[in-house]
Amino acid sequence: MGTLVHVSASGPEASVQHCVDAAFACVERVERLMSFHDPQSDLSRVNREACRTPQTVHPWTWAVLRRAVRIAQESAGLFDITVAPLLVREGLLPGSADSSLRCGVWRNIFLMPERKVFLERPMLLDLGGIAKGFAVDVAIHALRKGGCTEGVVNAGGDLRRFGPFPHPIHLRRRDGLVQVAELRCGAIATSAPRAVHEGRLAQPIGSIFDPREQRSWSGGGAVTVAAPSCVIADALTKVAALAGAACEPILTRFGAHARWDNDPASIAAS
C-alpha cells in the first residue's frame, strides 16, 4: 500500500500479541487481493479478464467493490474507481500506453450474483482510494474478535479505533501536530493531496483525481472525514475534497462528518 501501518491494542495478555499478528495478516491479505501493481491480485485479474468473462472475486474484494459502486452512485461519480487510466497517464500507476484507451465510468461496472464482476468495456479499476480504509476495518475486526478491549489501526492517515475512553486525534502538519478531535470509537481519514514532505519527496504524497475535469485536483489544504467505518471515511475524503461543503448531505447518508482545513501545511491524521 506504500504506507506504514501502525497497530496497537490492549486486552488479556495471552491474546494481545496474537490479535496484533492477526490484524497485520488481514492488512497483508487485503494488499494481496487488491493491489493494482501485483499481477496476481484479484483486482489485476478483474482488470485483465472481466471485460470478456465475469470474474468471481474474494468476498473482501467484493465488499470493497460494492461499497465503491455505492459511493460512486451516491456522489454522482465524484468518487470513481475507474480513474486508473488517468493515473497511469500521469505516471502515478504503472501501465502501458494503451491503458489510456481503457476508459469507462463506474456505471460500466456490473456486480452480478455469486460475487461475479463484469466490466462492460475494457477499463482499469484502481482501489487505491478505498482499499486502505477497508484494510484498517478488517484489522480492527481481528482485534475485536480476539477479545481486545482497546485497539487502534492507523495506515498512513486512515485511522480507526475502539475502546472505553476518547483519545485525541492529531493532524500532522509541517510545523508539528495539531489536535483536531477526540475519538472514542470510529474512523478518521485525511487526504492532503498537495502536501509535500519538505526536502524528502519531490512529488505530492497523495493525489486526488477529479473525474469531472479528468485531471489532478488542484485544491490545497486537507480534508478530514470521520465515519463509523474506515472504508467509508477513506472513500469519502475524495468526495469531500472535490465537492467541498456541498457534499454534506452525501456524508450524512453514510453517517459521516467532514472538516476542511485550507492551510497548505496540513499533512495527515495520526
Partner: protein, 178 residues
C-alpha cells in the same frame, strides 16, 4: 459499528501548532478509574514534605525528589480506604512525564498509568506488559532496570526515570502516608 467523536472548535485546531510530539493519554480522573475501578470516592491528601522528610526519602530510595509538594488522594470504596493514588512527574529525556501511581493499603504497587508524555520517543513505557512488571512491587523490591524491571530499547531514560520515580513514591508512602 458506531462513531463516537467530538470535533474541537476550529479556533483550537488552527492555533499555533506545538513544536514537539506531545501526547496527553488520559485525564487524572481516567487514570484513577483505571487504577481503582472499585473506588467511589477520592479524598485529597496533599503532602507537603519538610526538608528533613525530603532528605530521608531521598536517602532511603536513593532517588532525589523534585518537589516537596506531592498530589495525593485516598481511594475509598464503600467507606473503606482501599489505597493511595499519587500523581507525580519525572524527567523522561528532556521533558516531564506525568504519571499516576496506585499503591495498595499494604504498600505494594497496584498499577501505574502514564498521563502525559511530552517526548518524541520512548512512549513504549505506556505498554501494559512493561507497566505490569511493577504490580506488587514494594520497598523491598530492587526496582532496578535490567534487574527486576526490563529495559526498553529506545526508551532507556524514560524507563529508568519512571522506575526511580515509582521507587521514591513507595518510600514516600512508607515514610508519611502510613
Amino acid at each position: 459499528m458506531s462513531l463516537d467523536l467530538r470535533w474541537l472548535a476550529p479556533a483550537a485546531i488552527y492555533a499555533i501548532a506545538p513544536q514537539c510530539i506531545a501526547a496527553k493519554y488520559m485525564s487524572v480522573d481516567q487514570a484513577r478509574t483505571l487504577i481503582f475501578p472499585a473506588a467511589d470516592e477520592y479524598v485529597a491528601k496533599p503532602v507537603q514534605l519538610t526538608p528533613e522528610q525530603m532528605q530521608e526519602i531521598d536517602k532511603l530510595s536513593g532517588v532525589a525528589g523534585r518537589s516537596p509538594r506531592q498530589q495525593v488522594w485516598q481511594a475509598i470504596s464503600k467507606g473503606k480506604m482501599i489505597g493511595w493514588f499519587i500523581v507525580d512527574q519525572v524527567i523522561g529525556k528532556h521533558e516531564l512525564i506525568t504519571y499516576a501511581l496506585g499503591i495498595n493499603v499494604d504498600g505494594s504497587v497496584r498499577q501505574f498509568q502514564v498521563i502525559e508524555y511530552l517526548e518524541a520517543y520512548g512512549s513504549q513505557v505506556r505498554y501494559l506488559n512493561w507497566r505490569d512488571q511493577f504490580v506488587g512491587k514494594t520497598i523491598e523490591s530492587p526496582l532496578r532496570i535490567d534487574s527486576d524491571i526490563a529495559n526498553i530499547s529506545g526508551a532507556t531514560l524514560s524507563a529508568r526515570h519512571l522506575t526511580d520515580g515509582i521507587k521514591r513514591l513507595l518510600f514516600l508512602h512508607q515514610s508519611v502516608l502510613r
